[in-house]
């Protein structure tokens, strides 16, 4: 996990820099490559299942996730001495764990996906601004980005939540604000690189206005790195979301997520293992699904990388990909 700062800043940015040269091709080709790759298929199937759960969760849930039933407190799962009425057992208030998982997945997935997406758009905008304006705005944006990257995210979150309190909206804003510096820095360097390329000079000489050049020639060329960063970030945002929920800085009761389920579970470790294991496994599955998607998207946008044409400097990426394949 971790290291949003670490991973994004050092690995992803370095990888983007050295691997995202050359044209990824039209988006339909990229999509086809994504679907054709083994990891792409795996990610799509996993995410489709998780999305179905998110959409139809309330219909699939065998029980009401918030109804307490003190007659069936801390039941073990079925096959471990429990009943078929509560397949994954119940928590300390007799609530059905399976039903809570199906509903608790919603905030984790939706906030993770939503905050990464909005963060990507903000980062893209700031990155383009920073790459375009060389005098005041650009350096200011990059300095701000550096500052935010230097301070640990959870500590920034503490400062903000201390003032405005926990809650869904606060959580969303925090996670949105967290992502932008990495995008801004990567996009800014890409923008300034693209701006020196021949086709941009040609467009300028042909009389295109700056705004036109930006939209028609520069932005399309920085979309690929944005998408790569975005797909690689979602998993980390989900970890951060659940971690903030877990320490009580995220959702407020009665709202619950996989993270707050683990908070409840921690007080009951001696009574039941089911309430600890299942939310964590589902969370891990969600994170792995998005990480696999991130890898698959990166490869689909870098055909030369995945076709193994690399030597020397690019060797490390093939190694990294092979490792990730093993890991997931």
């Amino acid at each position: 996990m971790t290291n949003l700062t670490v991973t994004l800043d050092h690995e992803a940015a370095a990888e983007l820099d050295s691997s995202l040269h050359g044209d990824p091709g039209p988006s339909s080709t990229v999509l086809r490559r994504l679907v054709a790759s083994g990891r792409g298929k795996l990610a799509i199937v996993l995410l489709a299942i998780l999305l179905i759960i998110v959409v139809f969760g309330p219909l699939l849930a065998p029980d009401d996730p918030t109804t307490q039933n003190l007659a069936v407190v801390s039941l073990p799962p079925w096959l471990f001495g429990g009943t078929t009425a509560h397949l994954l057992g119940t928590d300390q208030y007799g609530r059905d764990i399976l039903s809570r998982l199906l509903i608790g997945l919603r905030p984790s997935l939706l906030i993770g996906l939503g905050a990464s997406t909005v963060g990507a758009l903000i980062g893209l905008t700031f990155g383009i601004l920073a790459g375009t304006s060389r005098r005041v705005l650009g350096p200011l944006i990059l300095r701000l980005a550096e500052l935010e990257l230097a301070l640990p995210f959870y500590v920034v979150a503490i400062a903000v939540v201390a003032s405005i309190g926990p809650g869904l909206l606060q959580l969303f804003i925090l996670l949105t604000l967290w992502g932008w510096p990495t995008y801004a820095r990567t996009i800014a360097s890409q923008v300034s690189r693209v701006r020196t390329l021949d086709f941009v000079s040609a467009a300028r000489l042909a009389g295109s206005r700056p705004a036109q050049i930006m939209l028609r020639h520069v932005v399309p060329n920085v979309l690929a790195p944005t998408v790569v960063l975005w797909s690689g970030t979602i998993g980390y945002v989900i970890v951060a979301e659940s971690a903030l929920d877990f320490i009580g800085l995220g959702l407020k009761p009665p709202a619950f997520s996989l993270g707050t389920m683990l908070t409840d579970a921690e007080t009951q470790l001696g009574n039941s293992w089911a309430i600890v294991i299942f939310p964590g496994l589902l969370l891990a599955l969600l994170i792995i699904a998005f990480n696999v998607l991130g890898d698959a998207v990166r490869d689909a946008l870098n055909p030369e990388v995945s076709e193994g044409k690399r030597t020397g400097r690019r060797k490390r990426h093939s190694g990294g990909n092979a490792m990730k394949e093993n890991a997931t």
Binding site: H10, A150, A157, I158, V239, L269, N326
Partner: protein, 311 residues
């Protein structure tokens, strides 16, 4: 061109000052996000009269510019007011919570370096063997797990079921083992991967190719010629890892009910003890800034030319 030492140190000192000013500014803005800093600073459940008194006492009715300068000055004097909970100066509360945090962070960082370097070196030295790949793949798998969940599962296995280690609290060395492991686990893969990548990159540099063609073995080349060259990169990366681990402490300490800077901050938020939060966040910013400066200085000492480039 390598800049002179005094210039180098001055530029790093300026960077550190910028980070501290930035952190104080962040706190200044955060405090005002709620719309009523006086209410936040009066502590929980304060009456309107108390809030009004706070407004006057702290000068919160003055213009924002004046307030900001005042805030900066109190930051540099390390004066964040008294904790609502303990009544003692907030910054001294934060400083006093630091040693127990370091007791889990330092072993955690040692674990990260030892295991990360071992796995990364093995992967670079034996690229075709299975076991280094297996090690790196496991480190990667662990990285994908939510680290706090790993902590709960470890407590379940080692502290509740088998009672090998204490689950929670600050009861000597044994209570630091699990938190240190949980802090370290997600970072091992990052270090291993960076080290392997840097080494393999260095392998294709002209001087490495020359050495190879003169008959230096791959193993000797990696350990004796290339390892010192990637040291500056690894040192700056370690500073990043330190910052991240310091952030993770905020999640890991409450998980183990371990009293340190992380728990102090989280309790501060839950009890709306804003002075403590301010002092704690400020302390974190100073620590992160100092670590970055230290990393730059060490990089420069071990490899003056390269250190300058990496920094």
């Amino acid at each position: 061109m390598t800049a002179s030492w005094p210039r180098f140190l001055v530029s790093r000192a300026l960077q550190l000052a910028a980070l501290v000013v930035g952190a104080v500014s962040l706190l200044f803005i955060a405090l005002r996000l709620s719309g009523s800093p006086a209410a936040v600073l009066s502590g929980p459940n304060a009456s309107p009269e108390v809030i009004h008194a706070t407004t006057i006492r702290l000068g919160l009715d003055r213009s924002w510019g004046v307030q900001y300068l005042d805030f900066l000055r109190s930051g540099f004097r390390l004066d964040f007011g008294n904790s609502f909970a303990s009544g003692t100066p907030a910054f001294s509360d934060a400083i006093h919570s630091l040693p127990s945090t370091l007791r889990i962070m330092v072993p955690g960082l040692v674990l990260i370096v030892v295991l990360g370097v071992a796995v990364g070196l093995a992967a670079a030295l034996y690229p075709s063997r299975r076991w280094p790949r297996f090690l790196e793949a496991s480190a990667f798998g662990l990285q994908a797990l939510p680290f706090f969940w790993l902590g709960i599962v470890l407590v379940l296995l080692l502290a509740i079921d088998t009672q090998v280690l204490p689950a929670t609290g600050n009861s000597g060395f044994s209570s630091t083992i699990l938190p240190a492991i949980v802090l370290a686990t997600p970072q091992i893969a990052a270090v291993a991967r960076l080290l392997r990548g840097e080494l393999l990159d260095a392998l294709s540099e002209p001087y490495a190719v020359t050495a190879r063609s003169k008959g230096v073995s791959r193993r000797r080349l990696l350990l004796h010629h290339l390892a010192p060259n990637v040291l500056p990169t690894m040192i700056s990366f370690l500073a990043v890892i330190f910052a991240f681990t310091l952030g993770a402490v905020v999640v890991v300490e409450p998980l183990f009910n371990y009293q340190g800077l992380g728990s102090l901050l989280v309790n501060g938020v839950q009890e709306r003890d804003f002075p403590v939060v301010e002092a704690g966040v400020f302390l974190v910013a100073i620590l992160v800034g100092l670590t970055n400066v230290l990393a730059d200085v060490v990089s420069r000492l071990v490899a003056p030319e390269i250190g300058e480039r990496a920094a």
